[in-house]
Each structure stands twice: as C-alpha cells, then as structure tokens.
C-alpha cells in the first residue's frame, strides 16, 4: 500500500497518569478531582475483578447480543478485488457499539454504589444507550443534550424519555455536543456524591479515555479471533470511523501490536469546501486543551473552540480522543478523511449491494475503503467496523439522495 506510511516513532512521554505520549491528562477544576480519582480507582480495582467481568460478559451476551458476527461482503469483494469483511456492531441492542461502553460504565456505577448516572449526547445514540443501561440497572438517568440537537433529533429524545431518562436541553454556548459536555461536567461537580458521569467517547479527562477503550476493545478482540478462525490469519487492514473515537479505539487497539496489519481511522471532512466546518480534528486541527484533555482540536488562532460539522451527527465533535492523536504521531494508525458526499454514496452502496443499511458514521469508513480498494494487492483482507445501523439516519440521508 503506497498511501500509508506506518513507521513507529519514539515520542516524549509525560510520565503522569492518563497520558498517551503528550496527550490526555486531567485538565479539570480541582472540585472535579475527587470524583475522577474515584472513577480511576474503580477502573483499577472493580473493572478487572472477576465479579465485574463475569457480570459484564453475561450482560453483553444475554442482553446485547455479543459476540457480534463478522460478515463477508461477497458482491462488494468481487467488485473491489479485495476480501471485505464487516464487524457487525450494528446488530447490537440499541443498534450501535455505544451500548458496550454505557452498559459497562453503568454496571461500574452500580458497583461503586452510585444511584444516578448522567451522560452527554449529540445525536442521541449515547444518550439512548445510557438511558437503556440505567433502566436495566434501576438507576436514575439524566442526559444533557444541546438545545439545537434536541430539535434536530426528536425521535431519540422520545426514546430516552420512554426509557425513563430526564433530558436536559442545554441552552449555553453553541447549544451542541461540546456544550452538553460542559453542562454535564458542571452538574457532576455539584452532584458527585451519588452520581457517575458515563462519558460517551474515548476522550475527556483521565480516566475516561482508558475506561472507554477498555470497555470497547471487546470489538477488536472478538474481530481479531473471528478473522483468524474464518480466514486462517490476521486481516491486512482494519478500518474504523473516528469522531471522538470510541468505536475506532475499540476496534484498532487489539491490533496495535500486530505490526503487519495496516490500521486506518477515517475522520469526517464535512462538505470539503475550503474553510468549511468539518470534524477532522487530527487532519485539520491543532493540539490544545478541552473537556479535560490535551488533544487535537478545531480551534481559532486564539484558542477558542470552533463548531464542528458533519452529515453524521455521531462524528460531529471538535476534538478527538488523546490516544488517537498519539497513535497518529507515532505513525501506527493512518488517519484519513472522507467527505459528506462520499459517506452518502457508501451508505447507498452497502445497502444496495449487501442488504445492510450502515450508520452514516460507519459509512465514512466504508467510503475510504471504496475509494482506496485499488491501493491494496488483489485479495487483501480488509476488515471494517460497522459501528452502527443506519435506520436512524434514513430521514436525514433522504434529504441528500434521490430514490426512484
């Protein structure tokens, strides 16, 4: 493959908790340190315990439908000249990988003795997953959602309410996901005694990037074993879409040590017009500090955060998880960009060719593969994380594509 130089580099590492190279950390008000230290302790003591692990395993299997299968795309493989496999997170309960994390963190909250979970949500997927997990465990649930998103994502707001969650429409700032995170953090400061913040992506202050990865890496661990069982070896390349980066870190992390496997993260490039808003923080952003972490950000020259934009609400975030920035810097993962129109074309192509309607988020990963299939040697095995199903996107996508 020519387009993807992957040379491991050694980078300075800040020897402090929660750093990936010089990214990550814990940039929060002092009043948030005690609850974060409490979650950090739970991550190192409760999460690895046999009790937690066996309960989580049972729930993921009996309640969520794990393990999810891998599917070989016969028709597309023939057309593209590669062997294309999908990891089917779209088949999970609630329709996306988000439940892996929400269920794990809600179980952790319960075992920590918390009675209330809070979450931020953009499109509503993480909010629905958290509300689902809270209902399952009998926990009180409050979801913070930008007022603009509450208007745009009415069906998910109704789903959360049906599941018993309270939805708070955040009116501050740009009234989108980043402001919902700010408001959730503020709420947590004043309700920390009984509340756990179920963070939705592999970003935020330490220990969230690590905690979310640990709960999502089941995707890559399963897929790696399934590829070996199905094909007799590792895939040649693994591809996942990257917004905040939770499905991507879950898929890619278990392959990081497999040096022969190319790893590709695909960011959302928006409309692709010069100067337009996008959600590609690694490709088009600069290092900075937001939501408790040092990471790449879409920002102006003075350090004010820009609004992100993508046709896919789940990738629409001005930052990206610190471990991804690190994997980019050391050259282990190649981060590419797919634009709105490419994702829409991929959304349609997978539906027509394989009978699978992908989420617009996952469509970005597919779009990259469709555009770069000819870069691969014939018969290369390419594994894509199909992070979610596209039913939720139908109404939005139909504004842009014409069906006969």
């Amino acid at each position: 493959m020519r387009a993807i130089p992957q040379v491991m580099k050694n980078l300075p590492h800040l020897n402090r908790p929660g750093y990936f190279g010089e990214y990550g950390g814990r940039y929060v008000p002092e009043t948030l340190m005690p609850p974060l230290l409490e979650v950090e302790k739970a991550l190192s003591e409760i999460l690895p315990s046999t009790d937690f692990q066996s309960r989580l395993k049972d729930l993921l299997s009996e309640y969520c439908g794990r393990p999810t299968p891998i599917t070989h795309c016969d028709r597309l493989s023939h057309e593209l000249g590669i062997e294309l496999f999908l990891k089917r997170e779209d088949l999970l309960h609630t329709g996306a990988h988000k439940i892996n994390n929400a269920l794990g963190q809600a179980l952790l909250a319960q075992m920590m003795g918390k009675t209330h979970v809070i979450a931020e949500t953009g499109a509503g997927q993480h909010g629905v997953a958290t509300a689902t997990a809270a209902a399952k465990f009998g926990l009180k649930c409050t979801v913070f959602m930008g007022a603009k998103d509450v208007e745009r994502q009415a069906p998910n707001v109704q789903r959360m309410k049906l599941l018993g969650a309270q939805v708070v429409a955040v009116q501050s700032g740009s009234r989108t996901l980043k402001d919902a995170i700010n408001e959730a953090l503020r709420f947590w400061i004043s309700h920390q005694a009984d509340t756990m913040y179920v963070f939705g992506t592999a970003a935020g202050p330490h220990p969230f990037p690590t905690l979310v990865r640990e709960l999502q890496k089941v995707i890559g661990t399963e897929a790696r074993a399934q590829m070996i069982a199905r094909t007799g070896g590792l895939p040649d390349a693994v591809v996942a879409c990257v917004g905040g980066g939770s499905n991507a870190i879950g898929m890619l992390h278990p392959f990081v040590q497999d040096e022969a496997v190319k790893l590709i993260g695909v960011e959302a490039g928006g409309t692709g017009e010069p100067g337009c808003e996008n959600s590609a923080a690694i490709n088009l952003g600069m290092p900075g500090v937001l939501h408790g972490a040092r990471m790449n950000l879409l920002q102006d020259a003075h350090g004010q955060i820009c609004e992100s934009s993508s046709i896919s609400a789940g990738l629409d975030y001005p930052g990206v998880g610190p471990e991804h920035v690190y994997l980019h810097e050391i050259g282990r993962v190649h981060y590419a960009v797919a634009y709105d129109h490419e994702a829409l074309a991929a959304f349609r192509k997978l539906s027509e060719a394989e009978g699978i309607i992908p989420a617009l988020e996952s469509s970005h990963a597919l779009a990259w593969v469709f555009a770069h299939a000819s870069d691969f040697a014939a018969g290369s095995k390419v594994l894509v994380n199909l992070s979610g199903r596209g039913d939720k996107d139908l109404a939005h996508a139909l504004h842009f594509i014409q069906l006969d």
Partner: protein, 254 residues
C-alpha cells in the same frame, strides 16, 4: 500580593478582589471600567480571559464571555492594553483564564509578556496540581505566581500536596458548583477555611457566590477568609448601569 492582603488585614478589613471579564461591558469601555474598579479601592483585580467553553463558570460569566468573544476579544488585546498602561493601576493584577487560550499563546511567551505588562500572577481553573509543572516552569523565571485553588471536597491530605507549590494566596472555592452559585452551607465553608488555614502559610481568599459582605460575617470569627473574590454579582451590578464604586463600597467598609 500576599503583602497587599496582609496590609488590608492590618487595617482591620478583608482584602477585596473584584473579578471583571476582559472586554466587559464593551471593548470600548473596558479600560475605563477597569480604572474605576481600581480607583474604588480594589486590592487585587482578577481580569477574566474569556473562553468558549468555561466549564467552571455559571451562566452569567459564560454569557458575558460569549458576548465579549463575539466582539473579537483576545488574550493578545488584553496583554497589549495592559502593557500600554503599566504603572497606572494601584491594585495588583491577576489573569484568570482557562488553559487553552494560554497554551495557544505559548506559555513562555505568556509569562514574559505578562511580566512586562505588570501582571502579578495567574489563576487557571482547569489546571489541577498534577498538570501544573509546565505552567509553573514557565512562570518561575519571571517571578509570576500560579494561584492554588481548593474546594470543599479537597481533602486535607491533598491540600498538603498543594502547599509546597502555593504562592501569594490560596483561592478557596466556597461551593461544589460554578461561579455565581449559591452557598447556604456556612458550616461547610467554615470547615474548608479552617482546614486550609491549618495547611497553608499564605492568606486565603474566598470566592464563588459572594454577593454581600454580610455573607462573611455569617462565618464564625475563626473561619473568615483574608480576602474576598467578587465576580458574578459585580458584573451584574455594572451591567445594570451602576458604578463599580457603589458596589465595592460596603466591601471596603466605606
């Protein structure tokens, strides 16, 4: 700044630290407003550097930050303005702002430029102890202070970890909440102040949610702060068209 607070104490009052967001109430009237706050008798003034995502602030300061950013307020503008006015303020000046605008300005350049502009120190609400080394390293050659913040949930053990790095004064956050929040738990505030006093050898400033000096008088005599930070209530007062002096007078015992 430690001496400034101790001097106020010697004259029988609590030192007064007003907070004002840079560019408030407007870009044109900010420097005049700052001069009036200074002339009213402030001991130290905190100049707020606006940020798009101010997670430690309540709705009033967040909204004001948004307004001044919309008018094109930047850290460069504040530092240039201060440099042009070096020596014209009686009060000591502190910049209070979130990490990202400081990081983008460059920490070493920030320290050098702020020292030349007459700034005495920084308060960074999203910089807990573990993340302070680079900031402290940048400030040290210029003799600038990084003010420690502690809250009601900061354990005595953790305060002791902060102690060796605490300079000039310690900012005690009165509430588990954001700026402008209401604090009705006098006992909790008193407990935090007593614990902080036993650990730190610098004066204590109390902030978040202070509106009237009577709030301090409700604290037990042995648990009163050496200085009071007033932000949200002062900004609301100025926004209503009233003078900074009329707000600060009761705080200064005038």
């Amino acid at each position: 700044m430690k001496e400034t607070i101790l001097a106020a104490k010697k004259s029988g009052r609590c030192a007064v630290i007003p907070f004002i967001t840079a560019g408030f109430p407007s870009r044109d009237s900010f420097w005049d407003t700052l001069a009036r706050v200074d002339a009213a008798g402030a001991d130290i003034i905190e100049i707020g550097i606006p940020f798009s995502d101010p997670v430690a602030d309540g709705p009033v300061i967040e909204e004001i930050s948004r307004q001044v950013l919309a008018q094109g307020m930047t850290l460069d503008w504040v530092i240039e303005g201060l440099r042009a006015r070096v020596g014209s303020f009686h009060a000591k000046l502190v910049l209070m702002g979130y990490m990202n605008p400081f990081v983008q300005y460059g920490l070493e350049r920030l320290a050098a430029d702020c020292a030349a502009a007459g700034v005495s120190g920084f308060i960074v609400p999203d910089l807990p102890l573990e993340e302070t080394p680079e900031f402290r390293e940048a400030l040290a050659p210029h003799g600038l202070a990084l003010i420690t913040l502690v809250g009601p949930n900061t354990t005595t053990e953790r305060m002791k970890q902060y102690a060796p790095f605490s300079q000039e004064y310690v900012y005690v956050v009165s509430v588990l909440g954001t700026t402008g929040g209401v604090n009705e738990h006098v006992e909790a505030v008193a407990d935090t102040i007593r614990r902080a006093r036993a650990v730190f050898d610098v004066p204590l400033a109390l902030g978040f949610g202070l509106r009237v000096p009577e709030q301090l008088e409700s604290l037990p005599p042995d648990a009163r702060p050496d200085a009071a930070v007033i932000g949200t209530a002062l900004l609301q007062h100025i926004r209503s068209g009233a003078s900074p002096a009329s707000f600060l007078a009761p705080w200064l015992g005038k």
